[in-house]
Structure formats: C-alpha cells, structure tokens
Symmetry: C2
Subunit: 281 residues, 2 copies
C-alpha cells in the first residue's frame, strides 16, 4: 500500500520517457515522518540540494517541496502521523539520448508508505548482518549521493534476503568497508567511534550526519576514515544508522558476534535525547 | 516521436513502483533495424542474457522477444525498414525496498524510434571528440553490462552537448581510457589495433564485438588491454564503434587531431562487407 503524488495530484505511473526510468537519472530521499512532521528535514533538503548540484538537476524549491510533502501526507490513505515519505527528483522527460540540457525541468514525485519499525528486541539485542559479496565500484562521481542508480544495492540486498539477514555490509572493489545496503556503519574501539569515508562510493545517510553532529563536541566524536575487513573483525562494538530506524546495534556479521556494548548504548541514549525516539531503550 | 509496446500493446507509461524507475534496476539494448531486420540480433540476445544473469533478472524468452519486436515494428508509426529499436528489461514491480526475490517477473518494453544516421562526411572525415571530466567508477559488479544505471553517461554526455562534440571519451577513476559515452573506442598503432579492457567498468558494445569477431583471424586482430591518456595521444589513428553508426573515424580529441588513416579505412571496408552498410565509403 502506498500513495504517490505529483504537484498535489495522485499518480500511479510515470512516462516511459522519464529519464529516471530510462537511465536512473535522478535521486531520492526517504524521510521518517514522526508526529506528522518530517524528521531531519533540514538534512534531507541539504542532501537533496547537493545531489541536484552534483547531477546538474534543477533543484526543487524548498518551500514548495514542503507544501507538496504536507499535501501528500494529508491526502494519503496511509496513517500519516507515523510513516515513511519518499521524494524522487528525476531528470524529467526528454528525447532519447543520455545528454540532458541544463534547463531541462526536473520531475518530482512524493510517495507515502506505512512505516514498519524493527521489533524492540532489535534495539535491545542487536541485529544480524552478513558480508555482501557484491562489491561497490570505487572512485564514483556519484559518491555519497542517494541517486536512482542503485543496482549494486539491489544485488547486495538480495544477498541479505537469501541469508535472512537484517542487513548486509558492503565493501568496495578495493575491499574497504563502505556501508550497509540501506544503512551506514560505525565501529567502536575502546571509546573511539569510526565510520567509513564515503569519498569513493556509498550513500551519506542523514542519520549518519545527525549522529556525527550530536557527537561532534563530545569525547566520542566520530572519526571518518578508510576501514577494512580487519577493522570490522577487531571492533569491540558495531552499530548501524538509518533515517527510519535511527541507531541499531549489530550483534553478528557472518560468524563474528558482538555484545551490545556500553558505547552503543550511550550513543542510543544520546540520540533518543536528540529527537530519535526509537533509540529510547 | 516514438512508440512503446508491452506484450504487443501500445503503452506510454510505467508504474511508479517499477524497479527500473525506483532503482534503475534493469538493462537495455539499442538495436539497429536495417531492411526491417534487427542487425546483430544474436549479439544483442547474448548480451541481454548475460546481463540478466549478472543482474539475476528473469531472462525474456528469445523467441517471444523476437515476436514482440516484430510486432512492435509492424504496429509502430515510425518507418520500420530503417529505424532504431530499444528493448528495456526491468526488475518489474515490487514493494518498496532494494531486495528483489529471484522469481520476481521481469517487465519488458520495446520502443521504436526514427534512426538519425550521421552525415556522410562523418564517415569520410571523422568526428570530433572531447575528453570527459566525469570519471567512471572502477571495479564495478556491472562492468560491461548495459544497465539502466547510466548517470555517469548522462553527465559525460552533457559535457559533449556543451562542447558541441560528436562524442566524449571517458576514463575511469584510475585514468584508464574506457569508452565513449555511447560508443567503444579503438586505437591504432602501426598495424596494431587496441581497445580498452572492460573488466572494471564500461559497456561492451555489440558492434565492438562484431568488429573483434570480423578481425579475429586476420593480422589486424584486436588486442584488449589497459590503455591510458598517453596511448591515446600516441595513437596513429582512432575510431569508434556503435550499434547504430557502425564504425566512425575520430578526427580530433580536444587539441589532438588525426587524419583518417589506412587501417581505419580497411576496417570500415571489411565491416561494410560484413553487414554494416554504413561503413561503405
């Protein structure tokens, strides 16, 4: 069940010539709606703007986008106090051919979906993960951007489905740890929290950014750096972030297991106090 | 002007939930229709099958696909003796989420477009190219496959539009020459013809394959290898291949110019004798 809207009107389809369909030419945001309000809206807007700049897409006006989102939440048949909204901005409709002229009007869609939160046990006991075999290409011009080019995540996520794992950790072609298929990953060593650099590939999540902002001026400030398989093996604690679930401890990756540790619990408590209610244990 | 068909019926739109739109989850073939027949049909079918295998997509039945193509050509308002057909196979419609179960039915669309051949002067005198600044990510799980994840080509092609160049040559993140935005590239040194390896990124074109097949048992057999900026600079001749235009000499890349050389002319003559009529000078 979901409802999609374009300029306030309900829609169920897009033109075949839409460049989002032809070339994956576009980007999206997946937004947690909590108490009827879009959580981390400012972060979503900033990432969207940066993505439009990188893809040379016409950037939707922030005010108009918010009006469209609010309208979609009101008009939707989905319970709109606690749900998930998805904004897709694609390169619009053009003639056949990769090239897109600078002034091509972008095409914006807003979808509203029921939110399906993880069970409380996931927050208390952690979630199981696997190492995905699908490698992420490196040196991407699109690194960090949540584009509509997501086949790598489709393949990696399909590995998770088959392994019945909550999440899969993905590595780049040079065996660097990058992120989860739908989350960002953090490794804890003693009191140090590290997260993979996303300068070569991966998606820079808004919850990752929020967590780094919250921890910035504390002794637990997050270090962004290159990390590999051995860093994962040696980590004392591992956790994930994502716009919908907030923060979740990782209890397992393939054969390696971790307890839910004190740093992860502290981070969750801090995030609960900073607007991410799911993290309240 | 174009006509799209799904299972024999004309269509103008796809469901918003189509995974091709949501994630670029799919692939495509662009086929030259000459004398009403799909040129290099066997090569297109093989690449499609290999792409479906790599993307874990349900593979369309070859016989049914040909019937659908023939039906689309007949039903289309486009002049169907000499035109371009596009087959899109996407991951179909599923609920939100990257994962796609193995048995998800794929969704096939066939589009028919007027063909716009390059001017005769392009074949005689060559075409102008630029070096694209957009780098291709390397180590891709999708290397060689013509997927719907084409934002890199969109950005590189937009550079060509702005420079008013016929084509742009793209390099990977490690500065290796890979291909054109819509073509494959060949460098000639003396009598040796080399073309970039496509094991890390790029699209393996059907005309590239046909040319390599045609030259396989001749002294001019094509060598597939890693090539860089300096190989391009030092090349005595440069030419491009693409399913629609066949073979085209390159007369310029940024400031570097080349004459249309004897090896390129021999290759074009050989290709003209092997079904690629456009190469007849």
């Amino acid at each position: 069940m979901s409802d999609w809207f374009h300029n306030g009107a309900p829609v169920t389809s897009v033109a075949i010539e839409n460049r989002g369909f032809q070339y994956g030419d576009g980007l999206f945001e997946t937004i947690a709606i909590r108490g009827g309000e879009p959580r981390l809206w400012g972060h979503h807007l900033e990432r969207l703007a940066e993505g439009c700049r990188r893809l040379r897409l016409e950037r939707p006006d922030a005010g108009s986008l918010r009006l469209q989102l609010d309208g979609a939440l009101q008009a939707s048949t989905v319970e709109s106090l606690y749900c998930t909204a998805k904004i897709i901005v694609s390169g619009g409709v053009t003639q056949r051919g990769y090239g897109r002229a600078r002034r091509t009007p972008a095409h914006t869609l807003i979808g509203v979906f029921p939110a399906v939160p993880p069970a409380g046990s996931a927050y208390r006991d952690g979630v199981g993960t696997i190492r995905c075999r699908t490698a992420l290409a490196t040196g991407s011009a699109l690194a960090g951007v949540k584009t509509l080019n997501r086949i790598e995540q489709v393949l990696a996520r399909s590995e998770c489905l088959e392994a019945d794992a909550f999440e899969g950790l993905t590595f780049d072609a040079d065996a660097r740890l990058i992120c989860g298929t739908m989350s960002n990953v953090f490794l804890v060593d003693g009191k140090t929290i590290r997260t993979p650099s996303l300068s070569r590939c991966g998606v820079a999540g808004v919850m990752r950014r929020h967590l780094m902002d919250v921890l910035r001026d504390t002794p637990a400030a997050v270090v962004e750096c290159d990390l590999g398989e051995r860093d994962l093996e040696r980590a004392g604690e591992v956790f994930l972030t994502n716009s919908q679930f907030g923060v979740l401890p990782v209890s397992r990756c393939d054969e390696r297991t971790w307890p839910v540790g004190p740093v992860t619990r502290d981070v969750m408590s801090l995030m609960a106090g900073n607007g991410i209610a799911e993290c309240r244990l």
